[in-house]
Symmetry: C2
Subunit: 209 residues, 2 copies
DNA sequence: CATTCTTTCTAACAACTGTTTGGTAGAGTA
DNA sequence: TACTCTACCAAACAGTTGTTAGAAAGAATG
């Protein structure tokens, strides 16, 4: 590593660090006020700089959303792929995927909220085509997992599969809307209880005589 | 009824009818493109008139959202109150409330989507204070219902009550995001399966020997 | 027919939007 | 010290936004 190269790397990582900071701020503002209701001046305000200064770091407001969402989705799918490759049974895979989802909510809360609220509108732009890809992949994964669960005898066969898919998908991700890191319940505890509800239901089990 | 009064009523209802038409259009556009991303010109376009013409019927863009949301909430609470006053057991009440919710989604889909996506942001304005009231009332109703369910022995006692509340609330209402009237499943069928999932879980029940 | 009333159009407005340009303070380097 | 580079500011830009005022088309009414 020549000193020249170390410098270049140093400034590059410093720059990337600042980008990450600004993106974190932007994600927070986007999530709380809504993407299109948020002005770049509001994002800049929250970051302590002026509106135009954001354009030193980013091409456009859209590119901020782009980077926020793709970073989150990359991390999510990396986690998912690891789980899916572990060769677990359907029930254990399902549990692990749900747990990973809540870990993602914990780690990327504003990005998840942004994804939930705006992905449908953003996806109409070709730039955000990867949102549709992710959506399809998501559906494929869950439908496959549910079918496997039924085949393995661990999931009920009398329910409409696409409906169960939407049920689980929505159930898990909307939690980003109210979840607060450092709150009463940890992401892990929430995941556990959610799993219990989804798998066993909230009904009291009649005592087996 | 004097002819004079009949005329006045006639024009009044005609006017109200036109308002309702325009509100239905506005709700659809708000729901599909997002409230703040929607321009009044887009709403007017969808209604076949020009942007400024909307202001003959409505004070502002905000007042359209206001009327859309309050109409929906009024209908919803009327239904809920009827159910709650019926004096049913906790389990039956829960089932009826869920069913009513899906009927509301069926009848007010765009309004529900609007409510889901924007109520959090809109509620910061004093004009939309009733959204917070509704939210509180909703929480109160569900927490009470869940507690009663546990007391009556029909619901599990080992789950975190506020978590179960959010679980049910979110689970039910997000369906507005993908539900399409006239689709493969009716609102009633979806309600039935949702209830089955929430109450009994999606896990296969081991055959009782 | 003339008149009134309802609904829409035309044409603008001020404010705000995302974005660009050129300048500048300050740290790092030689 | 002189130079360079990074990160920001200051000020503007063109387009869009919600909204308004006055005119006009057309139906209803007398």
């Amino acid at each position: 590593m020549s000193p020249r190269r170390r410098d270049a790397e140093g400034t590059a990582t410093a720059r990337a660090g600042r980008r990450a900071e600004l993106l974190a701020v932007a994600a927070e503002v986007f999530a709380s006020r809504g993407y299109s209701a948020t002005t770049v001046r509001e994002v800049a305000d929250a970051a302590g700089i002026l509106g135009g200064s954001l354009y030193y770091h980013f091409d456009s407001k859209e590119s901020m959303a782009d980077e926020i969402l793709s970073t989150f989705l990359d991390d999510m799918w990396t986690s998912y792929d690891r789980v899916l490759a572990a060769g677990l049974g359907a029930r254990e895979t399902l549990a692990a995927v749900v747990a990973e989802s809540f870990r993602c909510i914990d780690a990327h809360r504003p990005a998840v909220v942004l994804y939930q609220n705006e992905s449908k509108h953003l996806a109409t732009s070709p730039r955000f085509a990867y949102l549709l890809d992710s959506h399809r992949r998501f559906e494929e994964m869950w439908l496959g997992l549910l079918e496997r669960g039924v085949r393995e005898g661990v999931l009920r066969a009398d329910l409409d599969r696409p409906l169960v898919y939407r049920f689980i998908r929505d159930t898990v991700w909307v939690a980003a809307g109210w979840y607060r890191p450092g709150g009463r319940l940890t992401a892990g505890e929430i995941a556990k209880q959610y799993l219990a509800m989804v798998l066993e239901g909230i009904q009291a089990h009649p005592p087996t005589p």
